[in-house]
Subunit: 221 residues, 2 copies
């Protein structure tokens, strides 16, 4: 079995969703460690840096294969490569962002994307007044140009008001996008073969409100 075949076999192993959701966390912590010059790290220390517990971290990493050394720990650079590869961040992937309001600008300037092979390639907006504007090194284009900027494997990001989100979503699907991230606070309909995820900025705040509310009930004045 060649190295390539081993890698292929590993890729076929199913990785639990909960683990996939934490890989970006580990990756960020590892990048910070690498920047600080750390070359080897124990599960305990990496778990602390990522804000999880060490047993969970070890189990998560075990799904990618065994990259640690017993008695020593993990090689930081090697782990970065493995996780980046697993997440599909090694071959740079195309991201198309629609909606250049405050949120869209925040996303375009968000360092977390660029440093992870997820740089945004195109900014689109329906407002003609915005086309031509330069943001984070990109020129805003009109939404009508969507078919021209989408390539196979592109990920679409919706940062429009809720009222425009389904329309934009349909345009993305029509242009061949099969992975969409929705920041608009609305439920979108997509064909079964399209992978749709959402981020609702207000949900976490409402969850905090719930817990804060509970505190005031448990500890009455």
């Amino acid at each position: 079995m060649t190295t390539t075949e081993i890698a292929a076999a590993r890729r076929r192993e199913v990785i639990p969703e909960a683990t996939v959701a934490r890989l970006p966390l580990y990756l960020r912590a590892l990048h910070t460690l690498a920047d600080e010059g750390t070359s080897t790290i124990s599960s305990e220390a990496l778990a602390e840096a990522a804000g999880v517990n060490s047993a969970k971290l070890r189990k998560d990493l075990s799904h990618l294969g065994s990259y640690g050394t017993r008695g020593v720990g993990y090689d930081v650079a090697h782990l970065i490569t493995s996780i980046s590869h697993e997440l599909g961040l090694s071959r740079r992937c195309s991201v198309v962002l629609v909606g250049v309001g405050n949120l869209g600008r925040a996303l375009a300037g968000y360092g977390g994307f660029a440093s992870r092979g997820l740089a945004i390639d195109a900014l689109l907006d329906a407002d003609p007044a915005l086309t031509g504007e330069q943001i984070a090194g990109l020129t805003v284009r009109h939404i009508d140009d969507l078919p021209e900027v989408v390539v196979p494997g592109s990920i679409g990001v919706i940062a429009t008001p809720a009222s425009a989100a389904q329309l934009v979503c349909d345009l993305l699907v029509g242009a061949g996008v099969t992975s969409i991230l929705n920041f608009a606070p609305t439920v979108l309909s997509v064909p079964a073969d399209v992978d749709l995820r959402k981020v609702d900025l207000s949900i976490e705040l409402q969850i905090l409100s719930f817990h804060e509310h509970r505190k005031s009930l448990v500890t009455p004045a």
Copy 2:
């Protein structure tokens, strides 16, 4: 047992975290339905509007008490009241946002907060050039004013660059805030009695990248 006592007993029942995380979703769907003039809705239809399955919805709502009518469905207005109350959104709660960059501005203007009793009360930034600026009806104040704007039960929101996040977090904790929502891509340390949640704008994108990557492996050209 009086109505108040029943309500108190219900409040003491533990609601699973997974359920709490979905209540805001239901609430949003219900508000939309109410705006459309719908007064009664079945678990099936509400589940569809919220993007979940109906058995899950019914189980979730059963934790709040039995507010539905068999053979009929749920009363939209009543459910809105129950969920809002459960989430602590009925008594308007104070939100203090630190960091008035693009993300902070997006959050300040985000309709989802105001309409749910979670309007932002104060905007703060460390940059003196921004103090005095009007955003979404609020005047930006300097971060030094933090102790003046925090009240008991305030929720703090961090929308600063990662480099400033821990500092701001410490200031919030020092001012008495015990619920913090962090949008900066960094792990924060807080005392055990502080409830810290985070939103990482890039994580969902990386998860999508993972799945997109998988697709290309499963369906080779």
